[in-house]
């Protein structure tokens, strides 16, 4: 029977428990010891009833003698007190060990996950939406932690104690025991069958919530526009409808989610009916000889019936709570299984600053290639520009040069060593980047600049900032260089962030520069200064740059024209302009028809 039960149990929950323990890399010893003590505690909880039963048996069978009976009451009280004390110890040890054990497992689990995230390629990290990873590593882990430290033990004890009791009762009277337990397997089966349905409706609810979340964000961000066009009312009506839709799906989820739980409880409890019926049949077929003992065991069953069914009824609640963590665990498990970026055991040192791209192919999934068989060489101290229509793979190529991903085929090498053999440490020592998405971290402005060269003096930081035209706005901030920039530097404008990253790159002074030219919308004067700072930054380095305005790369040593992941043209500005091709088309689109007015 127990084996039978196990297979019909909500197996994914047990798989999750095992998987979390396994992923944590910690020993579950303490946790299991806690579980054992808890089971002992719950078994001791049954003993008073047994004591009463034997006491009653005594009284019923040996009628009369009041003195002896009164003395037996003292015995009974003494036994109960002793049981209580042992139970208290078991409760204490059980709770302590299961909590501590649970927390230890979770500490390991958290550490392991952090370690995985830490090793992920930057490109993979960027695939997660803003905050998504943070939600997973805080809310989802927290959810699993609460479950693991509180619910799991409860679930296991409320399953195991009744099963132990059931086995003991089988031994007393197997008919009645099976009768009492008859509803439970059916109830479980029912719960299991309803599970897929529940998953489907709750998925529908999740989808509705996600959709609404998008709508609310859109509503809030677009509110200014909606008001200007007097359309806020229209959007409000849409939101109202959507909220009503959520109400309907939510009620549906409750019916399909709580309904089966209610019926599970009913079916389990109906074991009482089977028990009473079987008892009646047994009594009807009783021979006078067996009467007394049979009947006393009936009394024992009556006393213990709810002690067996009660925990099973409770179990439904724990199961329901646990179900909500299944999704959290699965998300984390997927994260856990992502392939980390390999780091070499001993890093090679690049011989020079030549960058060579060889047979490079890459796709985010295995189906479509974003970059297809690229070959080019960027000699030391030269400048290479990458141009092409949007979606041609420029940023992806840049990402591969910075090793945000490893290519599926071919290689990128710096100074004769494959980037994989260089490792992040060597690579990022040699390479600076100034990209559109400027990466600032939580800290002061000075910290954000200094990270380019940790041993830089205040003076050097200030000079770098002056050269990047940011000293001016930094000095105007309330705390100057010590102003903290929170959450990705959100209190700074795009232009200001860009200038900080230029200052940082200037300070870092790495021989290779990856640059995305797009200038954020800044006022004329600032734009002028940013351009000068960029020119200065580019001097004397190996530069690879994504260019949006072709006029800025007229002097590049080589221009690579990308289209749909392939190199379609390669050469200098004049050469490319002289021949028919994509470059000339792009140039004409940008400058062509207006050229005369621009030159004036």
């Amino acid at each position: 029977m127990p084996a039978d039960l196990k297979s019909s149990m909500d197996s994914s929950i047990f798989r999750i428990i095992v998987r979390v323990i396994h992923s944590s890399g910690r020993s579950p010893g303490l946790f299991l010891s806690g579980l054992s003590w808890r089971i002992l505690e719950r078994i001791l909880d049954l003993l008073p009833l047994l004591a009463v039963f034997f006491w009653l048996q005594n009284i019923l069978l040996s009628k009369g003698d009041n003195d002896e009976a009164e003395a037996s009451i003292l015995w009974l009280a003494g036994t109960l007190l002793l049981i209580f004390l042992i139970q208290l110890v078991a409760a204490w040890k059980g709770q302590r060990n299961s909590f501590l054990g649970g927390y230890r497992i979770m500490a390991g689990y958290r550490e392991q996950l952090l370690d995985r995230v830490h090793q992920l390629p930057l490109g993979v990290l960027a695939e997660y939406r803003t905050g998504q990873l943070a939600d997973m590593m805080t809310d989802d882990i927290q959810r699993i932690e609460n479950i693991f430290t509180h619910q799991v033990v409860e679930l296991l004890t409320s399953l195991l104690v009744p099963l132990l009791l059931f086995i003991a009762l089988l031994w007393v009277d197997w008919h009645l025991a099976i009768g009492l337990m008859a509803g439970f397997p059916l109830a479980l089966l029912f719960l299991q069958l309803s599970r897929n349905l529940f998953i489907r409706v709750s998925q529908a609810k999740q989808d509705a919530l996600r959709y609404t979340s998008g709508m609310v964000v859109e509503y809030v961000t677009g509110l200014r526009t909606f008001r200007l066009f007097n359309k806020a009312g229209v959007w409000l009506k849409r939101l109202y409808l959507q909220f009503d839709h959520i109400t309907r799906t939510s009620i549906g989820v409750e019916i399909w989610g709580a309904g089966p739980v209610v019926l599970y409880r009913l079916l389990t409890e109906l074991g009482l009916v089977a028990f009473l019926t079987l008892a009646a049949m047994q009594i009807a077929g009783m021979t006078p000889a067996q009467d007394q003992t049979e009947l006393l065991s009936l009394l024992l069953f009556i006393l213990l019936a709810y002690r067996m069914l009660g925990p099973l009824l409770e179990m439904a609640e724990h199961l329901a709570v646990l179900r909500f963590t299944v999704q959290s665990e699965q998300k984390l498990q997927q994260l856990y299984q992502r392939k980390p970026l390999s780091e070499p055991g001993s890093a090679e040192i690049p011989r020079n600053n030549d960058l060579i791209v060889q047979d490079l192919s890459f796709g985010y999934d295995n189906e479509s290639l974003i970059l297809d068989q690229l070959n080019f060489r960027v000699p030391e101290n030269s400048m290479t520009a990458i141009v092409g229509p949007s979606g041609s793979g420029k940023s992806t190529l840049m990402g591969l040069l910075a090793r945000f991903y490893d290519p599926q085929q071919g290689s990128v090498s710096l100074g004769g060593s494959d980037l994989k053999a260089l490792g992040s440490e060597q690579l990022y020592q040699k390479v600076s980047m100034v990209f559109q998405q400027v990466q600032l971290f939580d800290g002061t402005i000075a910290d954000n600049i200094r990270i380019g060269r940790p041993d830089a003096s205040e003076q050097q930081i200030r000079e770098a900032c002056k050269a990047a035209w940011c000293d001016d706005f930094i000095s105007k901030l309330p705390e100057g260089y010590n102003t903290r920039i929170g959450e990705g530097g959100s209190c700074l404008s795009g232009g200001e962030r860009q200038r900080l990253s230029i200052a940082r790159a200037l300070l870092k002074d790495a021989p290779v520069l990856l640059l995305d030219e797009a200038t954020a919308s800044v006022d004329t004067e600032t734009q002028y200064h940013i351009q000068r700072a960029l020119s200065r930054l580019a001097q004397g380095r190996t530069v690879i740059m994504i260019a949006h305005r072709l006029s800025t790369i007229r002097h590049a040593s080589q221009i690579i024209v990308l289209d749909q992941g392939k190199i379609v043209q390669k050469g200098r500005h004049d050469e490319l302009l002289a021949c028919e091709g994509m470059y000339r088309t792009l140039w004409q689109a940008q400058e062509g028809q207006h050229q005369s007015s621009a030159a004036s």
């Binding site: 009280a77 859109e218 806020a232 009482l272 004067e525």
Partner: protein
């Protein structure tokens, strides 16, 4: 303090469940019945015991006893089904009440947002507002849907059992309840520093989450600057610190919690000996004792649920309190709108002028515009420029009616903007700003936001003037391409061009362009203003810009400095007399001719000041 805050939370909650009170009362009624029904199976089991004892006393035969058991089985089935049914109804009602409350609350929130002052809304991150409308509101569900039923059952069941025990024998009841005061005293002791411990736990948990979020956010920079190993070990240390504190707290709380829970379950310890004593002295019947034993075991345990309820409710109340700022948001605009009603709009008259008279505006106690007088004559084009922070955008918002002047007024053809209804204002003024907002949907939907019907050639003209013709041609489904969804990502410049077209399509006599071509290159910008002049000559246009290419034609150009009009005139006038204006033009020209490897220019610029040493001449 905490209690005061809780009270505020409860008050808000009471306000929010307003329309569901009847339904909730009904749910309570059903719960009461269900709680009573909980006791019936125990009573039936005790009847079984009585039958057995009766037989042992030889008062009945086996057939009679079997008959009794058959009957009991039947009653049991009926009782269980009925109980389930009643519970089902109670839960259904409480869930309905909960979900209706959630929808109601969300409606209130988004409606408040629709009319709240924009600058106030902008002090929130859109994620925060989403968090409120969805997640924070969602927390209420648990409290209304589950706790209403469960907490009342947890309270009612022990109460009913106590009544019943009193009815059997008062001494038995006292014995059963005697552990309760002990447990309660114990729990009071327990709860006393429980609060502070919980705060402590909460603090480390919050701080761990904060560190984690920060760590994750910063991983990319840290990796690129080879700081990640250090950051990672700091992160792991923080996690270890959290767990060691949790462990210390667990060690402290567990003994007390174990004592508390054990005591709650320990009433057998007194009931059994007391019952036995009473039985031996024939004060109570054996059946009564058995029923008492069946009911007493764990009768106080449901009280544990109430302690869970208190822990949960704190969290829910915290969420509810977070809603308060929006619930109490200034909705005077909403009422003003409703009071106004429809008033015939006179936007079709010839030429509309805009006038600012003695307008003063400050934000957050910073004076942005001290006093401004300005006229935008009907059909004219005005360009406003100036360093950032000069108050240009504020002026645009004042004219569009998004901000209200502190003093003075903005009038459109003599009528104060603040007196116009939203509809009237929207039909008079269209605004395009730097951050162009497009919603999910097709390009056509987005373009037609302002109007319900648009002639195809109007649409094409607007797109052509906004320099978006080529963009539309490039898109897979042209006007029917869906934007802001997976697949189609538009750049900032592309979005701006669509927003321009939308503002043109709104067909308003007044057009305000607030850095609306900021992402466009000079050539596109020039083309746009040229086409705007040509195809929409009657519009009264205000252009706010820091890049001035193509705006030489403007009727008046205003140089704004710290909220004052520093200079105003035509391009030819300003280029001759205004230093700021001259500088802007000079820099603009230089920027346009820049190349990355502008080595010599770079070197020379480093040494000389920006405004001097220019060799290129201005030829306009």
């Amino acid at each position: 303090m905490a209690e005061f805050e809780d009270k505020a939370g409860w008050r808000t909650l009471w306000f929010l469940i307003d329309r569901q009170r009847t339904r909730l009362a009904l749910a309570f009624a059903f719960t009461l019945v269900a709680a009573t029904m909980e006791l019936v199976p125990f009573w039936l089991l005790a009847q079984g015991a009585q039958a057995v004892l009766g037989f042992i006393d030889q008062q009945s035969t086996t057939t009679e006893m079997a008959e009794t058991f058959y009957q009991l089985a039947l009653w049991m089935a009926a009782a269980l089904v009925l109980k389930t049914l009643i519970y089902g109804i109670a839960y259904f009602l409480s869930h309905q009440a909960a979900f209706f409350t959630l929808a109601h609350t969300r409606r209130i929130l988004v409606t408040r947002l629709a009319w709240a002052p924009l600058h106030w809304i902008q002090s929130y991150h859109s994620g925060q507002l989403k968090q409120m409308v969805l997640q924070d509101v969602d927390k209420i569900e648990n409290l209304i849907a589950h706790h209403t039923v469960e907490v009342s059952v947890s309270l009612l069941t022990p109460l009913l059992i106590t009544f019943y025990l009193f009815w059997i024998d008062w001494r038995l009841a006292v014995a059963a309840l005697l552990v309760a005061p002990l447990a309660i005293i114990c729990s009071m002791l327990f709860m006393r520093d429980m609060d502070s411990m919980q705060d402590q736990y909460h603090q480390v948990a919050v701080s761990l989450n904060k560190t984690t979020v920060e760590y994750l956010r910063n991983i990319p920079v840290m990796k690129l600057f080879r700081q990640d190993a250090r950051r990672f070990s700091a992160m792991v240390q923080h996690s270890q610190h959290y767990y060691s504190l949790v462990e210390a707290l667990t060690r402290l709380t567990v003994p007390r919690w174990a004592l508390f829970t054990s005591l709650l379950g320990a009433n057998m310890l007194l009931v059994l000996p007391a019952g036995g004593f009473l039985l031996l002295h024939n004060e109570i019947a054996l059946t009564d004792l058995i029923l008492a034993i069946l009911l007493c075991g764990g009768m106080l345990r449901p009280l544990l649920k109430i302690s869970h309820f208190f822990t949960d409710s704190r969290e829910v109340l915290a969420s509810v309190r977070r809603l308060n700022p929006v619930l109490n948001a200034d909705n005077s605009a909403e009422h003003a709108q409703q009071a106004e009603g429809a008033d015939p709009v006179s936007s079709r008259e010839e030429g509309i002028d805009v006038e600012l008279s003695r307008v003063r505006f400050s934000y957050d106690k910073t004076l942005i515009i001290p006093e401004m007088d300005l006229t935008l004559p009907a059909g004219s084009t005005t360009v406003m420029t100036g360093a950032s922070g000069s108050g240009k955008s504020t002026l645009a918002q004042l004219i569009a009616g998004l901000l209200m002047p502190e003093q003075g007024q903005v009038t459109i053809n003599g009528r104060a903007v603040t007196d116009l209804s939203n509809e009237q204002r929207a039909s008079l003024v269209a605004v395009a700003t730097q951050d162009a907002f497009l919603f999910k949907g097709t390009i056509r939907d987005n373009l037609m936001l302002a109007r319900d019907t648009v002639q195809e050639h109007d649409m094409e003209l607007a797109i052509k003037v906004a320099q978006a013709e080529h963009l539309i041609q490039q898109l897979p489904d042209g006007y029917d391409t869906r934007v802001n969804e997976q697949g189609t990502r538009l750049s900032g410049g592309e979005r701006q061009r669509l927003a321009l077209a939308r503002a043109l399509l709104a067909d308003t006599p007044v057009l305000v362009l607030d850095e609306a071509t900021a992402f466009a290159d000079n050539l596109t910008q020039q083309a746009f203003y040229r086409d705007l002049q040509e195809h929409y000559p009657d519009k009264t246009v205000l252009i706010i810009a820091h890049r001035l290419a193509g705006m030489e034609f403007a009727d008046q150009i205003i140089v704004l400095h710290k909220g004052h009009i520093q200079d105003a005139g035509s391009h030819t006038e300003l280029i001759q007399r205004n230093a700021y204006y001259q500088k802007i033009w000079q820099l603009q020209r230089d920027s346009h001719h820049w190349t990355l490897q502008d080595d010599q220019a770079c070197e020379s610029r480093k040494r000389s000041d920006v405004t001097e040493g220019e060799t290129t001449c201005l030829q306009i």
